[in-house]
């Protein structure tokens, strides 16, 4: 599989010191920087870019990492064109400062120069310990923030390694493994404890931790069940969900998946970022043709503009205005193709996008040996979305907090980071109940 390994190399090398300083040189150094207002997690690009500009590189790294423990991953994955960079005042002149790339550069620079922001910080030593369920973006952010507040924290993770969606849901060509490891090492350096392979089976079991040595619980368990097309068979050989497909590429099943895809025709169903990721992975695994099947048109796709462009340029065939209506199988139960029905766009639906209307008598079949359903993620069986207050991440149960996708539904990593920070501060207040968090930590 050396060829697949090659194909999964990250495409964007990021800035080096010279290009980063040059880019920072373009920054207008705004008063009350609009970019900083545009970051959901409060990473504060206005400050870290100014620091970089003034040769305070270590300070710039500190700003990123203190504000956003996953600042590197956010720098890589954030749809900056509709967040910080959208607000950039330089847009009024020509083009925004490349804030995401600068943020990523600073985090990589910290690793390159071995400048560890949290080195030498005392380990959390408070009497009260917090349980964080899930080592994804929300859980890591909450755990890091708690540790910074001096509160001991244990992260329970069902899977063998940390990262959550960053590891098992984002392809390696977008977020290299070494990059993720660096970012998790920064969380560990704060003294956060991890227990892997430790699945907390239910919400009740999580809440029960309150009596077992934990004074508060944060639920950041994400959405790990793939939504599936209704009423369609699921036990077809060659038919996968996006969750299975992407996780397989990161957990050791890459060779087997590669064998199944190489030289074949792959149909990916869906129009979001996950569908685009699946399609691009299929291409990198050597698929002969990759079709992206979407029932609306290009403009209605939820995937980011740059992702759509990149997928098109790489050779993904966008098959728009087509609704999958069934799977064709061969006598041995293997996938042979996808039945499709053409659609046209009608009036707007509740999402504000024009509704696809099926055209009767337009059915046709696309030959494909592999199909990936990438139409959304939902809570795992037995769980619904958890209701929590957006201001403090409290749930109905005292001492239990929640954030990230399990509260919001599918959303951005940077908003999960925000929830983790919000919850940690709220937990600190809860633990002290009026006393300062620093005192509680002692």
């Amino acid at each position: 599989m050396s060829d697949t390994k090659q194909l999964f190399k990250p495409e964007d090398r990021g800035f080096d010191f010279g290009t980063a300083v040059a880019e920072a040189g373009r920054c207008l150094l705004c008063h009350d920087a609009p970019c900083s207002q545009g970051c959901p997690a409060g990473t504060d690009p206005g400050t870290f870019i100014r620091k970089l500009r003034l040769r305070n590189v270590t300070g710039a790294i500190r700003t990123v990492k203190e504000n956003n423990i996953l600042g590197g991953a956010c720098g890589v994955l954030c749809p900056v064109a509709r967040l910080c960079e959208k607000e950039c005042a330089a847009c009024g002149i020509d083009r925004p400062i490349r804030i995401g790339k600068l943020q990523r550069f600073l985090v990589e620079q910290s690793w390159r120069t071995d400048f560890r922001v949290f080195a030498g910080r005392p380990r959390p030593a408070g009497e009260k310990r917090v349980a964080v369920i899930g080592a994804g973006p929300a859980g890591l952010s909450c755990a890091a923030e708690l540790a910074k507040l001096g509160i001991p924290v244990t992260v329970f993770e069902a899977r063998p390694e940390a990262g959550g969606v960053l590891r098992y849901g984002v392809p390696e060509f977008r977020l290299p493994k070494a990059f993720l490891e660096g970012e998790i090492a920064d969380v560990r350096s704060l003294g956060v404890e991890f227990r892997f392979g430790k699945r907390i089976p239910s919400r009740a079991a999580a809440e029960a931790l309150l009596g077992k040595g934990f004074s508060a619980v944060f639920l950041g368990i994400g959405l790990w069940k793939a939504s599936r097309l209704e009423g369609k068979p699921r036990d077809v050989a060659g038919l996968l969900s996006s969750v299975d497909f992407l996780a397989a590429l990161r957990d050791g099943r890459k060779v087997a998946v590669g064998r199944a895809v190489k030289g074949r025709t792959v149909a990916v169903i869906g129009g979001g970022s996950v569908a685009i990721d699946c399609a691009r992975c299929a291409l990198r695994l050597g698929a002969q043709d990759v079709y992206l099947l979407y029932r609306r048109s290009y403009a209605q796709m939820p995937a980011e503009e740059d992702e759509r462009q990149e997928a098109l340029l790489e050779g993904v065939h966008f098959l728009l205005l087509n609704q999958p209506v069934g799977y064709l199988t061969d006598p041995r139960g293997g996938l042979r193709g996808v039945s499709l029905r053409r659609t046209r766009l009608g009036v707007k639906d509740a999402s504000g996008r024009r509704r696809p209307e099926e055209l009767t008598g337009s059915d046709w079949a696309l030959e494909a040996q592999v199909a990936v359903e990438a139409i959304g993620n939902e809570p795992e069986d037995g769980l619904g979305l958890i209701r929590a207050d957006a201001r403090d991440c409290r749930t109905a149960k005292a001492g239990v907090f929640a954030g990230g996708d399990i509260v919001r539904g599918p959303d951005l990593v940077v908003r999960a980071v925000l929830d983790g920070k919000t919850a940690a501060r709220s937990i600190a207040r809860f633990l002290t109940r009026g006393r300062s968090p620093q005192k509680a930590a002692r």
């Binding site: 040189g25 207008l28 150094l29 705004c30 008063h31 009350d32 609009p34 500009r53 005042a89 847009c91």
Partner: protein
Amino acid sequence: MEKRPDLSVEFLGKTFINPFLLSSSPVSNSAKMLERAFEAGWSGVAYKTLVTGRIPIVHPSPRMHPYHYGETRLMGLQNVEQTTDRGLKPNLRDIAYLKKHWPDRVVMASIMGFANQEWADLARACEDAGADMLELNFSCPHMTVEGSGCKVGQEHELVEKFTATVRKVVSIPLVAKMTPNLADMSIPALAAKRGGADAISAINTVKGISEIGLDDWVPRPNVFGKGAISGYSGPAVKPIGLRFIAELASDPKLKLPLSGIGGIETWVDALEYLLAGAATVQVTTGVIHYGYRIVEDMIEGLSDYMAQKGVSRVADLIGKALPNLHDTGKFDVAKQGVAQYDLDRCVGCGQCYIVCRDAGGEALEWDAAKRRPRQIEDKCLSCMICGFVCPVAGLITFKKKPASWKRRPTVTLG
């Protein structure tokens, strides 16, 4: 094709096809290199300084260091380069070669002696080789040989003596090259004139330290663990060079033609030197940064400027800024103005607000909702720093106020 303005200029009885020369440095080190420079369009050269073979010249290694400013490379350049290390004879053969093959270009041989007799010997040898004129190097700031370079330039008796020595033995014109590492350049320039110099060139490099290593604490360039205060050049020194040229050009006792040097990269820089009183200009650091090709843009740019301004001769530009150069005491401070803002083009960065508040008259308020500055006009100091930081060219301009206008006094606390 349209008629292009004639860029030729007379300097010490020679016709230069344009005012752009290479200065004495690594860019004028050999005939082989200079042939390419002449092909590119340079009108002449101050050939890399010659010395007698008495003391072997070895350059320190490394011999240069850049001063980058943010993303701008080579704002300045520091060097510990010595005079030529090629030996006298090969250089004299190269000078003869250039004069034979490039008769319309001017070769000015730069020389530096370490004693009277050496100055005389070098001068004669260069004249015999066919040099059109001599440049007397009284100004190198970092010679490793005692009794040479700018140590001479700072002692006006030596400048006069060495110039007179050379004057006695050759008939070709003499240009004395000055160091800027002194308070008043008129003193050595007048000494050179008394000794028989026909022109002055200025400036040689400014003594400086461009950078100090943060890990090894060695000033740069790091010559195997040692640094030195040495010659600093490039765009960063242009204001210093212009000052000295303007002062020499304004000196009623001097009245010698000038060759301007210091931070020239573009036709604009060159033109400023002409307007300040130089008849020719010399370039090194610009070539170290971009190569000989920059002369193409200097020629085209100056020629288009002259066509647009209706100026037919370079000579008509020389010293044209001098009538406008005054002591600050001559300013009419009764006339005042303010910064004015064309806010339709504002992008809302607020840098004007920050600097006005912290370094100006606190004359701006910030409308956070609209992200726009709001000027309190009678607090504006007209320092114009808001305009310096504004990213939109021409948004902030200076506006004259009527004589009746009064500025509010600065607030006093306590």
